[in-house]
């Protein structure tokens, strides 16, 4: 089964500007989702080079979340899980 993929930017800028707790997302994941979701860290994803976008950045199945927080990511994941969108 293809899993839902969460990519968290672990670049220094995202870390400094509000993303320091995001890599611990796994700890907030509901028990039932654990097998459905694959969480990965990524070096700087490049979005921070665009001055108009707001860090920190997370992607859920390729969908970009700006100003990401644990609760925003969980909310987005819920939507993806409900719609059964899987990584292509």
């Amino acid at each position: 089964m293809k899993k839902h993929t969460v990519v968290i930017c672990t670049g220094t800028l995202c870390h400094v500007l509000g993303g320091s707790e995001l890599p611990s997302l796994g700890q907030s994941l509901p028990e039932a989702w654990r097998d459905l979701v694959n969480i990965k860290g990524s070096p700087c994803m490049g979005y921070c080079k665009d001055g108009a976008m707001q860090p920190p950045f997370v992607e859920v199945n390729g969908e970009l979340i700006q100003e990401a927080s644990v609760s925003k990511v969980l909310d987005c994941l819920e939507k993806h899980i409900a719609h059964g969108t899987k990584e292509k």
């Binding site: 672990t10 220094t12 800028l13 400094v16 500007l17 320091s20 707790e21």
Partner: protein, 465 residues
């Protein structure tokens, strides 16, 4: 309560990144553009209008560059001027920007429109001071007679009564912040211990420290030797091993590095020696730790009678700087740590030239475009100063001292100085039952410092992973 994740600390760091970047690129003339970039036309304002937001941003930038509002003699002086004359935290550690202060109403209980004016009126019947009357079917609190006991709030079945705090005053452990004649908040620096709680708790980001980084950048540019002495709480501040974090500190231009954990070992040894002497006395009043500058300041300003109990041992920062001075007599020494109070302590120490926070370090690293996780590891010590690294966590100092003594100590530990822990401390001092008082101003110890990049719990998680 300090706001955990909030825009104010992010804006502060974002401003620092932008300022440091422009200074590095020698483009200080563009500093005046920052408020416009952050609040361009058409953007929703945080305050009444964009112009106010921009003015506040301007004062925040000035503050980072070492100038308070009252240092502004001509309102038309551009930010570029302040950028070229950045003067660090020597004059101003912490600035309260009255333009940014929202003049929050003084702390009180307020009746909201959830009040239904019920028949039971538990607010009124439980009020010990008869401060509650009813007008037009709604409860009304007479602020003259109200003693803020909170019984009305606790008894209302509709949660219609709320406590409205003034956040900065609420968290200040020493009542150093209050309203001046113009109705703005003001910090009394005679009382302030630089714990940084007001800065963390102000929802308007009106309290903001000055930074030494612009001067450090200039020193590095002019090839002055700048040695970083780095506090043990650095572990866990970035998602990378310690050696790589040190690599990043090298990459932003510091000539060399020294672990304050080494100085902390010296502190622990000297404190242990002091304690041995004290334990010989028939009535041991207890030794109080001296490594936390906010705590030492607290005693000096608020409990002068305890001064004699404070350990005479210099703090790890001071001892580290002495060691570094021996090897680098002409270098500038910059302390890097989680703490605001170190800015005050650094100023008093002839060996320490600068004090910068982890927030400032993070901003400097980003301004340089350096990726911490891509740095070559830089290792400092063959013998890891384990005893010294303990100093970053509450309980660690006492543990190191008792390890050195090889005995169990009766320790009174304070992890976070606040009104309640101060009460407990006073009792413990009177009881004379403790050998050692380990007091750290911040909750969890230095890892919970006012200017860290990761929360105390997250940094512990990073260290363990």
């Amino acid at each position: 309560m300090a706001l955990r994740k909030s825009n104010t600390s992010i804006i502060r760091k974002d401003l620092m990144i932008r300022i440091f970047r422009l200074i590095l690129q020698e483009k200080t003339e563009e500093l005046d553009r920052i408020p416009l970039l952050l609040k361009p036309r058409g953007r929703d304002p945080w305050r009444c209008c964009l112009h106010k937001d921009r003015a506040v941003l301007k004062y925040k930038i000035m503050s980072i560059l070492g100038y308070a509002e009252e240092d502004e003699t001509d309102e038309l002086t551009p930010l570029s001027w302040y950028g070229e004359h950045a003067r660090g935290s020597q004059n101003r550690y912490l600035n309260l920007i009255s333009e940014a202060c929202s003049n929050c109403p003084s702390a009180s209980y307020v009746v909201t429109n959830l009040c239904r004016g019920c028949e039971a009126r538990p607010c009124q019947v439980n009020c010990p001071k008869n401060s509650i009357t009813f007008k037009n079917g709604q409860a009304f609190i007479d602020t003259e007679t109200c003693v803020s006991c909170g019984l009305c709030m606790r008894n209302c079945p509709y949660n219609a009564i709320q406590f409205q705090p003034r956040p900065c005053e609420e968290v200040c452990p020493v009542n150093a912040i209050s309203t001046n004649a113009e109705g703005h908040e003001e910090i009394d620096m005679e009382k302030c211990i630089l714990c940084g709680r007001c800065m963390q708790s102000c929802p308007f980001g009106a309290i903001i420290p000055s930074s030494d980084v612009p001067q450090i950048i200039q020193d590095i540019k002019s090839e002055t030797e700048v040695v970083a002495i780095v506090a043990p709480a650095i572990a866990g501040q970035f998602r990378a091993p310690l050696e790589q974090i040190y690599g990043a500190i090298k990459a932003v231009g510091f000539t060399s590095l020294y672990e304050v954990a080494e100085g902390a070992e010296l502190t622990a040894r000297q404190e242990a020696d002091e304690l041995v002497e004290l334990l010989k006395q028939s009535e041991n009043p207890g030794l109080m730790s001296s490594c936390c500058p906010a705590w030492v300041d607290y005693v000096e300003k608020n409990q002068p009678s305890w001064c004699s109990s404070i350990s005479h041992t210099p703090s790890p920062m001071v001892l580290s700087a002495i060691e570094v001075r021996k090897i680098h007599p002409n270098a500038k020494i910059a302390f890097i740590g989680p703490c605001l109070a170190k800015k005050g302590e650094a100023r008093k120490d002839p060996n320490v030239n600068y004090a910068m926070s982890f927030e400032e370090l993070g901003a400097l690293i980003v301004a340089h475009g350096v990726e911490v996780a891509e740095q070559d590891p830089y290792s400092l010590n063959e013998n890891v100063p384990e005893l010294g690294r303990n100093f970053a966590l509450s309980g660690g100092v006492a543990q190191s001292v008792s390890t050195l003594l090889g005995m169990e100590l009766k320790v009174h530990q304070v992890s976070g100085l606040n009104k309640e822990t101060i009460r407990q401390l006073k009792r413990a001092v009177k009881d004379k039952k403790s050998d050692f008082f380990e007091v750290m101003c911040c909750e969890g110890g230095c890892v919970g410092g006012a200017q860290t990049l990761t929360s105390a719990s997250e940094s512990v998680r990073i260290i363990n992973s």
